[in-house]
Each structure stands twice: as structure tokens, then as C-alpha cells.
């Protein structure tokens, strides 16, 4: 660097002088003066804000984090040229295929908007400099007057008199980010280039463009128009052998031409979504076309089509590519929301990338289409919610829970608890001889957007199960809302199991027809535990059934293959402190009083509370959080700042022998209802808790009596044919082969 009288010069031609411009960290400055004693101190003013700043040469010359070097220039023009040289603007959409008129109109819009915005910015600067209040409407009016006098506007014979017209221009400019081609394309009617083209042809062309011709930069190569057209020819020829493949025919313009003919799906013949499997099969060279055409179910969806001419194809492709978001909005509008995602298969990126068990586990809930009867009266029917966790790599069912409650914190926490530890004891208890060997802590738990899945309880459990890094913690991942396809794996399995339940068990609801629902309620005879056992059996059978997507290995075999290489998953022992992680954390806080801690209308106490802090350093009462197991609220876990302090037990539920009587949250609710029915206040529920137990005992005795009576009389129809019904249902559960067939047909139906 050499020093000059006015400023500093650099060896690469850059110069610093008063009046010169500096572009640094996204802002432009004009140099006002340079300290003659210290050349590194530069007084400058910001062009955008017109405020004075002091710049330091060492800062200007230091490499910036974003990698953009400082630019020095003598004039604004030179600065702009240098910026454009270093930061070339993003590649504009292609202009080919666009007519002159819309291009001219687009150019006018860009000129008007950019000129007016420049004028308004200049007006603003003047206002700031002179201390005048800035009014945009006034500035805009002046800007439009100025604009209309410009030569370019006269040349176009254009005048913008109303601000409204300008705002229309601005809206269109912003929507298409000032891109000439996109603005020009926006003037086209939506049906341009589509007149006379049958829907089937359009669908075929769209499919080819989406599959082979639409990829963003960096997402792999995309075919050039000529190759894309050849690809379309080959694909269509393949399906059109019976039509003669390539035959002379009349084109859409009526001229005789050599055209390619073939079969393709007619969207008008498809009820609902266009079947993806048929589309994939038609494009798959490995699948013989004859087998597709011979299938009447598929053939009825197909129609003979003729490939459009090259010129039409090129123009359409050009227009398609000029659409924002590579035609996503267009495709979704034409073939339904999600068609774009489905076509480019971006929904299952996680699932296709998993390389080991427990890497991705998907969870979901499903209301089973079957009625069960209550244990006591066997007359009240109810439906159950099944929560399932499935491992994406092995397709193993990792854990389940069957609850009366609609999806809530308990559903996911109980299913997670079931998934993490081995389940063999449970199977032995239910008398199921096969093994359900998979278990472990999920690395990533994919959840839908249920409120419960965002709960603090789940977050805490996901963190604390790791025990400060000794074991895996759980990463919670929420699928995009209202897009069930992101959970396709679990949705498919739930569809499978509900289908089997519907097919096999008495009390199943065959359809939403009120008649079917009434019949199902009449036939209902299974108890909760019966249905649970059937579901366990179905899951264990699934675990040992070959899966087409696992190269015909069973999920269990896939699991064991990994276990052989890496051993069993490491999980913490199921101690009391670990069990406590799955308790529900109450959002409220409590203070310790002389009677202990109050919750659920009871007082909880333990000797540990005697030493717990009651008043903090600020003289305020110390607040404690608490957690509980909804199936037993006789005991609470007490927390302070997230740290466990101790467990406390209910004084009111303590028995004479010192033990505590377990009471569930639901028993408490029932007792409260009974108290209110009896004209007492709900807080008196404890007086009625014995009555709940008495009622249960009484109903069980009645049931035993009814069973004896029914056996003695042997009536033609049994009121509770539970045991036999289950045995019968279990014998009907299909074998491995038929199960695979069912799965395949269900999967193809879902596809």
C-alpha cells in the first residue's frame, strides 16, 4: 500500500479518496474524509441512512465471515458493476417460449416499479436530511409525475396516472421477485397451450417432466428438452405395442404426422387420487406391459393417447419451468394437494435414509373400529384407541398401548414405556408362545402434531431417559401437520391391523352406516383384555411374517440380523426413578404446608418433606412441581426446579396397616360424579370411593351368577360369549402366507 496526499492506494488498483464509495457488509458508504495523521480512520456517511460513521481500514480489509470482500469504487456505476461481477444475480427463469407482448409488459412493470421505488427512496433521504416529515402517498404522486415525463415511458406510450395501477404493478413485481420471465408468464391464461390436449396426455407429459425434467440445482441432473421428449417417446412406445407403437396419424393441428401412441392413465376414469402404483408400473421397464394391460382393474383406468408434437412439448416445458417453485403449485392444483411431494417422493427422506434399528421410530394413534363391553355390566359398549410405535428400519412394532382415552399424554408415554423394555414376560402372561424380541430407546421419535406430543412430560422423559449421556436420549421430531403421507409407514400398518380386526372379530364396525354401527354394538361381546390379547397375537404374527419391503425377511429376522452385529440395545433398568419419568407432570405448583402438599383434594406427606425447604431466600414460599401416575394417584413425585425431591403419599388413602390404597384418576372422577349425583359436593368424592369398589365387586358377583345361570339353562344365544369368540377369532387369524397376501393387497389399495 502506498500513501498519497488525498488518501491511500493499493497495489491491486483499489483507491481510497474522499467522495469514493465503499461497499462493506451489505451497506454502501461514501468517504467524507480520511484522517491525515492516521490513514486507517475513515469518516464516511451511509448512503441508505445518510448518517455519519467511522470506518477503520483494518476492519474493512479483514476477511468477513460471509466471505464477501469489501469493494471500493470511484462512482456508483463502477460500484454496481463490481458488485454484479462478484455476486452474479440468480439465474433467471428461461425466456424461450414466451411471446413478445407479455415480455414487453413485464419489462414495463419492472421499469416502473424500480424507477418509482428509486425516486421514493431519494425522496425519503431528502426528507430525513431536511428534517421534513415523509409521506409515502405524496412521494408516490410526485414519483409518478416524474415517471410519466420520462422518454422511455413516452416511447412505450405508457402513463401511470393512478397510484392503484402502480400498486398492482408492485404486487405482481413482488410476487415474481422482479423476474422478467415469471412476470411475463403470469400474464398467460392458465389454459394456455393446453387447449385440445386431453387430460390423459397432459398427465403423461406432466409425469415425464416431473420425473426426469424437474430438478432444482444441486439435486442431480435434469434432462434437456430433446432428451426428455425422446424419453417420453420411449415410455409411451413401451405401453403402446398393441396399438402399433408408432403409427401415422393426425396431430392436434390436423396435419398428418408420424406419432407415437400408447396407453396411459386417464385421470377422469380414476375415482379419487390417481393410482401411483399403476403409474410406476407403466414407467418401470422391468414390468411387462402385457401383465398390466391384462389386469382388468388397471386396464379400465387406461386410455390410448398420442404423444404431442415436439414444438408443443418444448413450449409447454418452457412454460412449466418458468413457474415458481418448479411447478409445485401447478401440479398440486392440477392433481391434488401433495401430488408434487408424492411424485418426487420427498415425504420419506428419513425412512429411506435409516441404516439401523431404532434410528427412526414412528408413533401414531388409531380409534379401533370395534366395540368392546365393560367388565362389570357387559352392556355398556365402548371403543378403544390403539397407539403404536413402529421401527422404520426393521418395520418391527416396538410398543403399543390400548386405552379408552382419546390420544393424550398417557397414550404416548405408555406406548413409549412399552417400547423401551422387553415384552416377553407380558407375552408369557397372555399365553402367547412366540417371541416379540425388539425393544430399546428410539433415537428419533416421529410424532404427529397432537397437543400431547408437545408436552413438557414427554420432553422431560425424552431428555432424562438418557441419564446424563449414559443411555440414548430421544430426539422428538414432529411431522408436518395435515400431511399424513409423512407417516405413511405407520398409517399403513394401522390400516392393516384395523382391517384384520374388522374382518375377524365380533363387534367390529364394518362401515359408517348407522345400521352397521347398531349391529356392531349388538354383537359386541369382547372385553378390553380379550381385544388386547388379540392385538398382541396379531402383532406377534406380523413380527414373524415375511415383509416384501425387507427382501422377504420378517421384521423379527431383520431385527436379529442387526443384534448379531451390534448386540442388544442398551436400556436403563426399570427402577422406580426411571418409572417416574413416565408419570404425568402437573403444570401447576404446590407449597408445603403443615398438612403436607395438597393435590386431588387430598393431602400428601412423607418424612422427607420435614426437611424440605418451605421459604426461599427471598422470603417467599418455595414452590414445588409434582408428577403422578394416572393409574395410581395415591403417590406423588415432588420436584423443585426440575430436580426430584422425594415421593409423598396420600394421608387420606392410608390404610390401618400403613399401606396406601391405590386409586386411579378415573376412579376419582367416577367417585366425584357419584358424590354429585347424591347431592353432595364433588370434594366429598373420598366418601364414595368405597362405593366404586363395592359396585365393582357387586357387578362381578352378578356376572358370575349370570354365567352360572346361563350355563344351567343353555340358552340359544349367550349374553357374553367372550372366551369362545376369542378362541374362534384366534383360529381365524391368517397364516404367514395369507397375511403377506393381505398386506400386499392392502398396500396396493393404499397406494
Amino acid at each position: 500500500m502506498t500513501h498519497s496526499k488525498e488518501g491511500a492506494e493499493f497495489t491491486d488498483g483499489m483507491t481510497l479518496k474522499p467522495g469514493y464509495l465503499v461497499r462493506w457488509q451489505g451497506d454502501t458508504y461514501r468517504i467524507v474524509s480520511i484522517d491525515p495523521n492516521d490513514i486507517s480512520v475513515i469518516q464516511a456517511e451511509s448512503i441508505a441512512r445518510s448518517d455519519a460513521v467511522t470506518l477503520y481500514l483494518d476492519e474493512l480489509l479483514a476477511p468477513s465471515d460471509d466471505g464477501a470482500p469489501t469493494i471500493f469504487a470511484a462512482t456508483e456505476k463502477a460500484l454496481r458493476a463490481e458488485i454484479e461481477r462478484r455476486q452474479p444475480p440468480p439465474e433467471p427463469a428461461p425466456l424461450s417460449g414466451l411471446r413478445d407482448n407479455p415480455l414487453k409488459k413485464a419489462a414495463q412493470i419492472i421499469f416502473v416499479v424500480e424507477t418509482v421505488e428509486r425516486f421514493i427512496a431519494e425522496w425519503l433521504r431528502r426528507c430525513v436530511r431536511d428534517g421534513i416529515k415523509f409521506h409515502r402517498t405524496e412521494a408516490l404522486t410526485e414519483a409518478l409525475k416524474e415517471l410519466n415525463t420520462m422518454d422511455q415511458m413516452r416511447e412505450w406510450d405508457l402513463a401511470i396516472s393512478r397510484p392503484g395501477t402502480y400498486y398492482d404493478y408492485l404486487k405482481r413485481y413482488n410476487k415474481h421477485q422482479g423476474d422478467l420471465a415469471r412476470i411475463a408468464a403470469s400474464f398467460r391464461r392458465s389454459t394456455l397451450n393446453q387447449t385440445g390436449v386431453p387430460k390423459a396426455v397432459l398427465h403423461f407429459v406432466d409425469t415425464i417432466i416431473l420425473r426426469y425434467g424437474t430438478r432444482a440445482k444441486g439435486q442431480g441432473p435434469r434432462l434437456r428438452p430433446k432428451s426428455l421428449y425422446r424419453m417420453a417417446e420411449q415410455k409411451l412406445k413401451r405401453t403402446g405395442r398393441s396399438l402399433g407403437g408408432q403409427a401415422p396419424a393426425k396431430g392436434y393441428n390436423g396435419q398428418a404426422t408420424s406419432v407415437v401412441q400408447g396407453y396411459w392413465i386417464d385421470p377422469e376414469k380414476c375415482k379419487g387420487d390417481i393410482p401411483e402404483n399403476v403409474k410406476n408400473e407403466l414407467l418401470d421397464p422391468k414390468i411387462p406391459v402385457d401383465s398390466i394391460l391384462a389386469n382388468p382393474e388397471k386396464m379400465c383406468l387406461l386410455t390410448p393417447i398420442t404423444l404431442p408434437k415436439k414444438t408443443w412439448f418444448y413450449a409447454y416445458l418452457s412454460w412449466f419451468r418458468s413457474q415458481p417453485g418448479m411447478g409445485k403449485a401447478l401440479v398440486d392444483a392440477q392433481y391434488g394437494t401433495g401430488a408434487w411431494d408424492r411424485e418426487l417422493a420427498i415425504w420419506d427422506t428419513f425412512v429411506t435414509q435409516v441404516t439401523m434399528p431404532l434410528q427412526v421410530v414412528l408413533a401414531d394413534h388409531c380409534l379401533l373400529k370395534i366395540f368392546v363391553v365393560d367388565d362389570d355390566t357387559r352392556s355398556r359398549v365402548d371403543r378403544l384407541w390403539l397407539t403404536v410405535l413402529i421401527d422404520a428400519y426393521t418395520r418391527c412394532i416396538l410398543g403399543i398401548v390400548l386405552l379408552y382415552e382419546s390420544p393424550c399424554i398417557e397414550s404416548i408415554m405408555s406406548a413409549l414405556r412399552h417400547a423401551i423394555w422387553p415384552k416377553n414376560q407380558e407375552l408369557a402372561r397372555e399365553g402367547i408362545p412366540q417371541k416379540w424380541s425388539c425393544f430399546g430407546i428410539p433415537l428419533l421419535l416421529s410424532l404427529d402434531n397432537a397437543w400431547a406430543h408437545h408436552s413438557i412430560t414427554l420432553e422431560n422423559a425424552a431428555r432424562l431417559i438418557g441419564q446424563n449421556g449414559k443411555y440414548s436420549s430421544i430426539q422428538l421430531h414432529w411431522r408436518p401437520p395435515y400431511k399424513a403421507r409423512y407417516g405413511a409407514l405407520i398409517e399403513r400398518y394401522l390400516g392393516n391391523i384395523t382391517g384384520k380386526i374388522k374382518e375377524l372379530l365380533p363387534g367390529a364396525i364394518l362401515s359408517n352406516d348407522p345400521e352397521h354401527v347398531r349391529n356392531a354394538a349388538k354383537e359386541a361381546c369382547l372385553l378390553y383384555q380379550d381385544l388386547y390379547r388379540v392385538i398382541l397375537q396379531l402383532i406377534v404374527d406380523y413380527q414373524h411374517t415375511p415383509h416384501s419391503e425387507l427382501d422377504n425377511m420378517t421384521p423379527d429376522e431383520k431385527w436379529r440380523e442387526w443384534v448379531q452385529q451390534h448386540g442388544l440395545p442398551q436400556v436403563p433398568p426399570l427402577a422406580r426413578e426411571v418409572e417416574r419419568l413416565f408419570w404425568r407432570l402437573d403444570p401447576g405448583t404446590r407449597v408445603i404446608t403443615n398438612k403436607g402438599i395438597s393435590a386431588f383434594g387430598m393431602h400428601y406427606w412423607s418424612p422427607a418433606l420435614a426437611h424440605a425447604q418451605r421459604i426461599d431466600l427471598n422470603g417467599k414460599k418455595t414452590k414445588y412441581g409434582f408428577g403422578y401416575d394416572p393409574s395410581d394417584i395415591s403417590r406423588l413425585g415432588i420436584y423443585r426446579n426440575g430436580e426430584w425431591v422425594g415421593d409423598v403419599e396420600s394421608k387420606e388413602l392410608r390404610r390401618p396397616d400403613g399401606s396406601v390404597r391405590p386409586v386411579s384418576l378415573w376412579e376419582r372422577k367416577m367417585a366425584r360424579d357419584m358424590a354429585q349425583d347424591a347431592g353432595r359436593v364433588a370434594q366429598d368424592w373420598q366418601d364414595f370411593i368405597d362405593e366404586v369398589s363395592d359396585l365393582s365387586r357387586r357387578r362381578q358377583a352378578e356376572k358370575r351368577m349370570a354365567d352360572k345361570e346361563s350355563k344351567r339353562k343353555r340358552p340359544p344365544r349367550k349374553p357374553a360369549a367372550d372366551v369362545q369368540a376369542i378362541e374362534q377369532a384366534l383360529t381365524l387369524i391368517p397364516t404367514a402366507e395369507s397375511d403377506e397376501r393381505d398386506t400386499k393387497s392392502l398396500v396396493s389399495f393404499l397406494n
Binding site: G26, D66, Q359, E459, G469, Y471, Q475, L476, K558, Q565
Partner: protein, 231 residues
């Protein structure tokens, strides 16, 4: 009024759904709940978690204010904040290069950068060019399964340091088999311990080559000691 969950500790806001973005939260190496709102942020979190020089990091750390071209005061929350071994505090933003070219985003970047400079923080902008590429991301994700300390094995670590130091690059699979035989340990235990060391950067591998393929360790995965790499 819509219900809102409070964000995890140390976060100024909860991550939101923006259509089909990746969204979730992860427990980092310091036991902190960290949120991510994009695939890029998730991949970067994996890299930060693997990086030994990064001691801790948190998501959605603080709100910055800036003024756009129209003069409207807006707020912005960067994706991450990191604390590194050398005492540097970094504020990290994740964006695409096309987004960074927008004038308002430049104003935002400038405001955040200035604020960081005054507070002595480093401001880093990650784009698709600097974020982990798909292979590195897949490798880090698979290796993260071996982060738990239960997989650590002192004997295997000693054997690895003793053998790999100066031995150049060795095949992971054959080294695991040999070590298992020498130490009389099951091979899965040794393999897991080596993968645990790889995650914690105690030994090195080429993360630009896929480590796991179709449920198995890729056959030609090489490992070497860190000192080997520095030489």
C-alpha cells in the same frame, strides 16, 4: 387466543411448522434441549454435537432487532449459539444463498453482525454450501446412535490408542475382530466401543464415505488415530 407452549429452557421461542420443514428437538451433549426448524439446522446440530471443540450450544438463543427497507422494525432469532473450547461464543444463522441475496435479509444480517461485534461474539452464516452434505449427515446421524457412554470401553480404547498410533489407516471391521480376540470380548461390544470413539472424535474416519450401508458397516471403513491425521 391460541394456546402456546413455552419453549425449552434457554430458547426464546418454539420452532414452528412452515409447511413441510423439519422440526423437532434433540438433547445435546451437555444435556440441553435444542430445537431445530430445518433439515440444515438438524444436520448442523449433528456436526456441532460431534465436534470436540464445541462445548455446548443452544437453539433460538435471543432476539435481534433490525429495520427493513420500509423502515419497519422487525425481529429475528438466529438458529443457534455455541460455546467453544477456546472461549469463543458464536451466533449461527442458517440460510440459503438465494435468500441471503435479498435486500431485507442483508439489512438483517448487517444488524445482527453489528450487534454480535459489539458484544464480542462471532457471527457465522451457514448456507447450503457449508452445511454437512448428505453423506456426512448420514454418517453423523448413524454414529450418533453410539454417543451414549454405556458403549465406551476402557480396554478397547487403550488397545485402539496403542495400536492405531503410528499404524496408519486400518480397516475398522478387521481391527474390531482382532481386538475382540485379543481382549476376549464379544465383537459387537468392541465394534460399538470403536463407533463410540469415532463419534467422540477420539479416533478418526473419513465422514465423506458412507459408514453404514443397508444396516451393516460398510466393508472398507478405515479408522486412524487423530495424531496420524495431523501429521
Amino acid at each position: 387466543m391460541g394456546l402456546k407452549r413455552r419453549p425449552p429452557e434457554g430458547n426464546v421461542r418454539r420452532v414452528e411448522s412452515k409447511g413441510t420443514n423439519y422440526r423437532g428437538e434433540i438433547v445435546n451433549k451437555a444435556g440441553r434441549q435444542v430445537q431445530y426448524e430445518s433439515r440444515g439446522a438438524w444436520a448442523l446440530i449433528l456436526r456441532l454435537d460431534h465436534d470436540r471443540d464445541v462445548l455446548d450450544y443452544c437453539s433460538q438463543p435471543e432476539q435481534f432487532e433490525f429495520t427493513d427497507r420500509k423502515g419497519t422494525l422487525l425481529t429475528y432469532v438466529p438458529a443457534l449459539k455455541t460455546w467453544t473450547r477456546d472461549g469463543t461464543v458464536e451466533i449461527i444463522t442458517i440460510s440459503s444463498t438465494t435468500q441471503l441475496a435479498q435486500p431485507d435479509i442483508r439489512l438483517r444480517e448487517k444488524a445482527v453482525r453489528e450487534s454480535c461485534q459489539t458484544r464480542g461474539f462471532r457471527y457465522i452464516v451457514h448456507t447450503e454450501r457449508t452445511l454437512p452434505q448428505p453423506t456426512e449427515e448420514a454418517n453423523l446421524w448413524a454414529l450418533s446412535a453410539f454417543r451414549p457412554t454405556i458403549y465406551a470401553n476402557q480396554e478397547v480404547a487403550c488397545a485402539a490408542f496403542a495400536t492405531l498410533n503410528g499404524a496408519g489407516k486400518v480397516l475398522l471391521d478387521s481391527f474390531a475382530a482382532r481386538t475382540a480376540q485379543n481382549l476376549q470380548l464379544p465383537k459387537p461390544q468392541v465394534t460399538n466401543a470403536l463407533l463410540h470413539m469415532l463419534w467422540h472424535d477420539q479416533i478418526t474416519t473419513d465422514l465423506g464415505r458412507l459408514l453404514f450401508f443397508s444396516g451393516s458397516l460398510a466393508p472398507r471403513v478405515q479408522i486412524w488415530s487423530e495424531s496420524e491425521e495431523s501429521e
